[in-house]
């Protein structure tokens, strides 16, 4: 096991800046969901990040490592927390736009491309270190699946709720 640099570098700055901006935006956006729904969406984002970082990174896959240390550290946990608001934004923006039968397909595709671009930024910042031939476009099917599952959450838990139960300001 190799121990890498543990001082604050570009990867830690990336996590802090992205996390703070995301939570500030979440805080200042007009509320459209109940507290339970907001909290669940934050958890979905955190769960997806924790799940893939604890699955794709483990033996025998070992496709990437997160941040500077081979073991789980404070910055890894903070990166899971950082991902929370993105599920919220994904659902939030979908409730705002005008929709027809094909909107969800293009919406998920665009978000998957944005996610890949963000992952590329995170890789440049040193949050992810790819191993064993892993390349960034391998993440595309993962994003398509998790975004579709998040869309299922919207369809079954938010859209199906009676309108009076939702918050609108």
């Amino acid at each position: 096991m190799s121990f890498k640099d543990t001082t604050i570098n570009s990867n830690e700055l990336f996590i802090i800046i992205t996390g703070v901006l995301a939570y500030l935006l979440l805080f200042f956006l007009p509320k459209r969901f109940t507290r339970q729904q907001t909290f669940t969406m934050l958890l979905i984002g955190g769960y997806i990040s924790t799940f893939f970082d604890n699955t794709v990174c483990i033996h025998p896959f070992n496709y990437y490592s997160v941040n500077d240390t081979p073991f789980m550290d404070f910055w890894d946990i903070l990166s899971f927390v950082m991902f929370g608001p993105f599920s919220y934004f994904f659902v939030y923006a979908y409730t705002v736009i005008r929709k027809n039968r094909t909107t969800y397909f293009f919406y998920i595709s665009i978000w998957a491309l944005i996610s890949m671009f963000t992952e590329a930024l995170a890789w440049h910042a040193g949050v992810y270190h790819y191993k064993n031939g892993y390349q960034i476009f391998f993440s595309l099917p993962i994003y398509l699946i998790v975004l579709t599952l998040t869309m299922c959450y919207y369809q079954f838990f938010i859209k199906k709720q009676p309108r009076k139960n939702r918050l609108h300001k």
């Binding site: 096991m1 507290r35 339970q36 669940t40 955190g46 604890n54 699955t55 033996h59 079954f156």
Partner: protein, 154 residues
């Protein structure tokens, strides 16, 4: 072989959950599934560290890893959902029975499939202490989640 057994167990546990009359709403079930999965993933970092941290001397088959992942991300969280749904029934003895049976199932599962659940060997006492903390945490978080809904109604 181990993957086949684990998948059969998954089928049984998922169907038990489907058949169970739910005492919690779907939102609460989803919330509990997410927090229990995240807690289990973090809790396994220490006992399963050889699998997580790229130990070159550690050999583990793909089948074994798939069984481990199925146990970690499907069977354990759904067993938690089953247990927490059942403990919502009124009556001290019913609740005590559910807690005891849950503890027994948890210990038996960890011991019988040790290599694919907790990976390394852990004593019964430590497993019991972990279960008590884990179960209390799940019940407390569920209570907090319910409070979030109540605060809005006031």
């Amino acid at each position: 072989m181990i993957l086949a057994v684990t998948l059969c167990l998954t089928w049984i546990v998922v169907n038990l959950f489907v058949m169970l009359p739910k005492k919690m709403s779907w939102e609460e079930n989803l919330f509990l599934f997410l927090v229990s999965s995240i807690t289990i993933m973090f809790a396994l970092l220490i006992p399963a560290k050889r699998m997580y941290f790229d130990d070159p001397g550690y050999k583990y088959s793909l089948e074994g890893t798939m069984a481990f992942l199925t146990n970690r991300n499907i069977i354990f969280p759904i067993l938690t959902l089953l247990s927490v749904n059942l403990i919502q029934y009124r009556g001290f003895w019913k609740q005590a029975l559910v807690a005891l049976v849950s503890l027994f199932v948890f210990l038996a599962f960890c011991r019988l499939e040790e290599k694919h659940t907790i990976v390394s060997s852990i004593s019964l006492l430590q497993l019991t202490v972990f279960f008590i903390f884990y179960y209390s945490l799940m019940l407390s978080l569920l209570k907090c989640f319910r409070l979030l809904a109540e605060e809005r109604k006031v």
